[in-house]
């Protein structure tokens, strides 16, 4: 008895799907292009506690009252560094490190939700994008972990045991899925510098740069995860990454209104 493949007719029928699959005309559809995807940094903001965080949340609430649709993603911070450090000593695979890395941004997201609850803050699981239209229409401020859900399936990067996709990647990939043009990162620096300004006082501020120019500089350190800079030029929607200083009053609100404050990395 022969056992033929029973194939459904389609543009990709019989394909190994290992090639680019460009036989189909692809005209991308944006899912929720008006949403602002905003990261609140772990080490840079949350680990500073009330003094840094409360004024930032005030500006986010003010923006929400202006009708700006905001989704907040939380970073990890020093507790993530602590578990990464111990896990590295134990030589556990990157996929295990990435799984450990899910828990701290989740804690931080829950803290943010408790603070924002009275203004409509609602905790959202990573797979709950499908409920966003409801939350936003109700005037809520959804808060979720910035960590992508790759976990044990996170790939190892050459020369490192740390998961390459962390909360910056989660913010960019969320914005890209939702079809938002710009992702906003709230940190404790004015954005991008020629070197780490906390360690090198001679570092100078970069107002705008393309991903290609940034990569070509070959900096030993960059303000956002390297995968985000790598992905940016091939994004369909999210073509700009804006980094602002949450410690400077007015920056967050200005950025949420669409102003070019801080640094902008362009595709």
């Amino acid at each position: 008895m022969t056992a033929e493949r029973r194939t459904i007719e389609s543009a990709l029928a019989g394909s190994a799907m290992t090639g680019p699959g460009d036989r189909v005309d692809y005209r991308p559809t944006a899912v929720m292009p008006d949403v602002k995807v905003v990261k609140i940094g772990g080490q840079s903001v949350l680990d500073r506690g009330r003094a840094a965080l409360f004024p930032i949340l005030d500006e986010i609430v003010a923006a929400r009252k202006l009708g700006i649709q905001i989704v907040i993603l939380a970073g990890g911070g020093t507790r993530a560094r602590h578990i990464y450090s111990i896990a590295s000593e134990l030589e556990v695979p990157t996929g295990v490190v990435a799984t450990l890395g899910k828990y701290i941004p989740m804690q931080n997201a829950r803290m943010l939700q408790m603070l924002l609850a009275k203004h409509g803050g609602i905790y959202m699981l990573p797979d709950d994008f499908e409920k966003l239209p409801l939350y936003l229409q109700m005037g809520c401020i959804p808060v979720m972990s910035g960590m992508p859900p790759f976990g044990y399936w996170e790939k190892r990067e050459e020369g490192s045991r740390i998961p390459p996709h962390r909360t910056d990647a989660g913010v960019f990939l969320s914005a890209e899925f939702l079809g938002a043009r710009r992702a906003l990162f709230i940190k404790d620096e004015d954005g991008l510098y020629t070197d780490d300004p906390k360690k090198n006082p001679a570092a100078t501020h970069i107002k705008s740069i393309t991903a290609a120019e940034l990569t070509a500089r070959g900096l030993p350190d960059v303000v956002l995860e390297r995968v985000v800079i790598e992905y940016l030029p091939r994004a369909q929607w999210c073509k700009e990454l804006q980094i602002v200083n949450g410690l400077k009053p007015g920056q967050v609100l200005a950025a949420l209104k669409g102003e070019d404050v801080g640094s902008i990395i362009r595709a």
Partner: protein, 279 residues
């Protein structure tokens, strides 16, 4: 005892990565070593093709299930099974492409099609001892093995809405072959066996080219420069494997030829054997 450190406006826990930028290459390299912990080094992961086996229906599926039942008699062989989705995945993505859905949307959708094959396989194998394994419930595996139960794993990796933009074209890069590879890699398994409908990996598609040449036993380093564009495993699998530390052996066998899977599980060189030598 963990030490809490402040003074720069932030509160830190003392650790080697404290205050550090995790983008700094110098910092990252401190986390590296020449090995990864191996959790289940005596387990083989068996991946059964969707298009190559399941889409052929009963005539291909039942003999393979019978072979798995025979294999299960040898309690020393520990295996986890995963399945591909086949033609329904291709149909899903074709429609999604036409609708212009984002790549993360496609990645979120396709897992359901693989799951159908996993349910079918489990329905056939359950009387002989099998169970679907929840996404990442790896820590149940020792129980499964002790009880003689073969777990059927979810093969599509949970990249979902966060599937990165592909290097070329518009399709998700992380499919079921990659997902099962990564599952075996992160758990430090012995080998992965991909059960397809060809006697191994060829330099071009043997269904279209009668002169296609099969790779026998080959190292990953030898294979990478001559990897065919159109091949039966996800391209991303080879890329990820080249940076990985654990997995040293991938075998591709023909599930339409009875006995090939059994021999591969016993470690025989059958079909195409790709080995990775330590760097």
């Amino acid at each position: 005892m963990a030490e809490i450190i402040s003074g720069d406006g932030r509160t830190h826990i003392n650790s080697r990565l404290m205050r550090e930028s995790l983008q700094n290459r110098g910092v990252l390299s401190q986390t590296e070593s020449d090995r990864d912990l191996r959790v289940f080094p005596d387990v083989t992961l068996v991946s059964i093709g969707g298009q190559s086996i399941f889409d052929r229906g009963k005539a291909a599926i039942l003999p393979l299930v019978e072979e798995l039942v025979q294999i299960k008699r040898d309690k020393s062989l520990k295996m986890v099974i995963g399945v591909g989705g086949g033609t329904r995945v291709r149909h899903t993505i074709s429609i999604a492409l036409d609708l212009g859905l984002p790549v993360g949307g496609m990645a979120q959708l396709v897992g359901a099609m693989e799951e159908l094959n996993a349910i079918l396989l489990n329905t056939l194998l359950a009387p002989h001892g099998s169970m679907p394994m929840q996404r990442d419930h790896f820590w149940d595996l020792p129980l499964y093995f002790d009880a003689g139960i073969t777990p059927i794993a979810i093969s599509v990796p949970p990249y979902h809405f966060w599937e990165p933009p592909p290097e070329a074209g518009h399709l998700p890069m992380h499919g079921s072959d990659f997902g099962l590879f990564q599952l075996a890699e992160v758990l430090g398994m012995k080998q992965v066996i991909y059960v397809k409908d060809e006697d191994g990996l060829y330099d071009k598609d043997p269904k279209k080219h009668p002169d296609a040449r099969r790779f026998g036993k080959i190292t990953l380093a030898e294979l990478l420069p001559q990897l065919p564009d159109d091949n039966i495993l996800d391209r991303e699998l080879f890329h990820a494997w080249s940076h990985a530390k654990n997995l040293t052996r991938i075998t591709i066998v023909n599930g339409l030829s009875p006995g090939q899977l059994t021999r591969a599980l016993h470690g025989d060189d059958v079909g195409t054997v790709i080995v990775k030598e330590p760097a």
